[in-house]
Amino acid sequence: MTATVASGLSEVARSDAALRAFLHGLPGVDQVGAQQRAAMLGTRSIKTTSKAWALDLAIRMVDLTTLEGADTPGKVRALCAKALRPDPTDPSCPPVAAVCVYPTMVATAVETLEGSGIHVASVATAFPSGQAPLAVRLADVEAAVAAGADEIDMVINRGAFLSGRYREVFDEIAAVKAACGSAHLKVILETGELATYDNVRRASWLAMLAGGDFIKTSTGKVSPAATLPVTLVMLEAVRDFRAATGRQVGVKPAGGIRTAKDAIKYLVLVNETAGEDWLHPDWFRFGASSLLNDLLMQRYKLSTGRYAGPNYVTLD
């Protein structure tokens, strides 16, 4: 596939028809086979030093997230403190990759995290449904960027995608990318609404073709959110996209990843699908909130030999 894609890529977004022909020409995904491959990788047994390394890497990949109607600056400041020092009792514990908040909370996060190197990500584009006029969605992005967000998590127009208006989805992503300026754009596919792996593969390519820096599974507001097989399909897409274009795109599963064991399964998936180039916070993130504490508890178990309890990790 790679050779044919590379030669025709500049042309594929020229029209709806060309885009459709391209996306529908991608190899299909057999649901059962993809699920079995993901499940098989889930049986990898990661021990001792590898596990310690994997837990720290997973912590460094967390986009620590709060996306609630009840979010307040106080809540966000607490989250940022946790992001900086996930385990206050252990200075060797690394910080997370980013905090992820609503646009109204960006300023607070930026202020709290200034100079830390931790990124501030903002959801935008009328998250989570995206059901607002494009101008409103773009204004949302611009506001978040203006407030200091250096990463934007947009949602794609699933309605347009599912009704086959690929060019419209493409143009909107490109417009958002333009509105981002230097901020990194993560494109949320909301795979739970796309329903099939074939759609996930097509949406992944569409997002990458339109300029997305990351493809992200889910808003966290729709079930199912991230799953191993969905992430597998997206990792195959970024792998193939780089082979075709030379450009590397990141992947972010978000929602539903709650345990260290799950996180390590995702890292195995990355390692054996896209490869070690993606095993870095620049290229793989976890969108999560409760995951971090389980990673910390497992980290504690590994370093002390004792099982930890919830009172020994911080609440926020």
């Binding site: 057999d30 649901q31 059962v32 086979g33 699920q35 329903a195 099939t196």
Partner: protein
């Protein structure tokens, strides 16, 4: 056939029409050739009178018959079951139309006219019985298998391929039909060695087959010595199964089964000498000459 009686009272010799005899030949690939060897052998009635010369098939005739059967396999096995069923039924129709001829021929061979008529009746009915199986064997012997996973899984019977058949010696028509029909109904093609001493009904049946829309080569009939022809069929690497039903020499049967092992032919061992061909058949002969193919496919969206 026996000659006509002349009238003893005639003063002048009236012109009595001389019967036109049939030349009994082989049936290979839809044609009726003589043996390539040019040989024949005399066939006698039950009472020992000369009836006809039958072709004495050679190993090369057997080879040609296998080639014809293999060539026919693709089309016949791919025909719809409905189509195969109709053709087998057509054979019954054609046979019914020649009832008197077959009765006379079987009677001449066995010496019992009443039994011969009953044998022809039964042979016709047997074609009808097997004709009906064509589109049922897959339903009765196939299976939808409830595997423990998200898979469609279906087992279906398929024909084994080219089947060599040694027809029962004692029952020249019913016995023959009883081994040929179950072989071909599922899509196999056959090379049949007819009853050695009573081969003529087999050749006449070939004429019926040739006019029943049965594709050329689906059934090929050899007449001759079982001990001469069968070993070539048993050792032939392009024959998939061998039915030894009509082999009466136990030593020969062992040799044939041993030779058949070289390409792992499916083997039907000789039938007991007491076989009652008039008894109701069961599905065993069909099942012995089919393969079960199981196809898996994931179920996903």
């Amino acid at each position: 056939m026996p000659t006509e009686q002349e009238s003893p009272a005639a003063t002048t010799e009236p012109t009595v029409r001389l019967a036109v005899r049939k030349t009994y030949k082989l049936f290979i690939g839809g044609a009726f050739p003589r043996s390539e060897s040019g040989r024949s052998y005399p066939v006698h009635t039950a009472t020992g009178d000369f009836m006809a010369n039958a072709a004495l098939a050679s190993r090369k005739d057997a080879r040609d018959a296998v080639r014809a059967a293999r060539a026919a396999f693709g089309t016949w096995s791919a025909a719809t079951a409905y189509n195969r069923g109709q053709i087998l039924y057509r054979v019954a129709e054609m046979l019914e139309g020649r009832h008197a001829q077959f009765t006379a021929e079987v009677a001449a061979a066995t010496g019992d006219r009443d039994a011969a008529a009953a044998e022809v009746d039964a042979a016709i009915d047997r074609w009808v019985w097997y004709a009906g199986w064509a589109d049922k064997i897959a339903q009765v012997h196939g299976a939808a298998n409830p595997v423990a996973g998200p898979y469609f899984n279906l087992s279906t019977p398929e024909p084994t391929g080219v089947v060599a058949v040694v027809a029962p010696p004692e029952s020249p028509l019913l016995g023959l039909v009883s081994v040929v029909a179950p072989a071909i109904v599922s899509g196999n093609t056959a090379v049949v060695v007819a009853s050695e001493d009573r081969p003529l009904p087999a050749v006449t049946l070939a004429e019926v087959l040739a006019t029943s829309d049965l594709p050329d080569g689906v059934v090929n009939v050899l007449t001759g010595r079982v001990a001469e022809i069968a070993p070539w069929l048993a050792s032939h690497m392009d024959v998939d199964a061998i039915d030894l039903t009509g082999v009466t020499d136990a030593g020969l049967a062992v040799d044939l089964e041993t030779a058949a092992a070289e390409n792992l032919k499916r083997v039907l061992r000789p039938a007991p000498a007491s076989s009652d061909w008039a008894a109701d058949p069961d599905v065993q002969r069909m099942l012995a000459l089919i393969e079960t193919k199981t196809v898996w496919h994931p179920k996903g969206i």
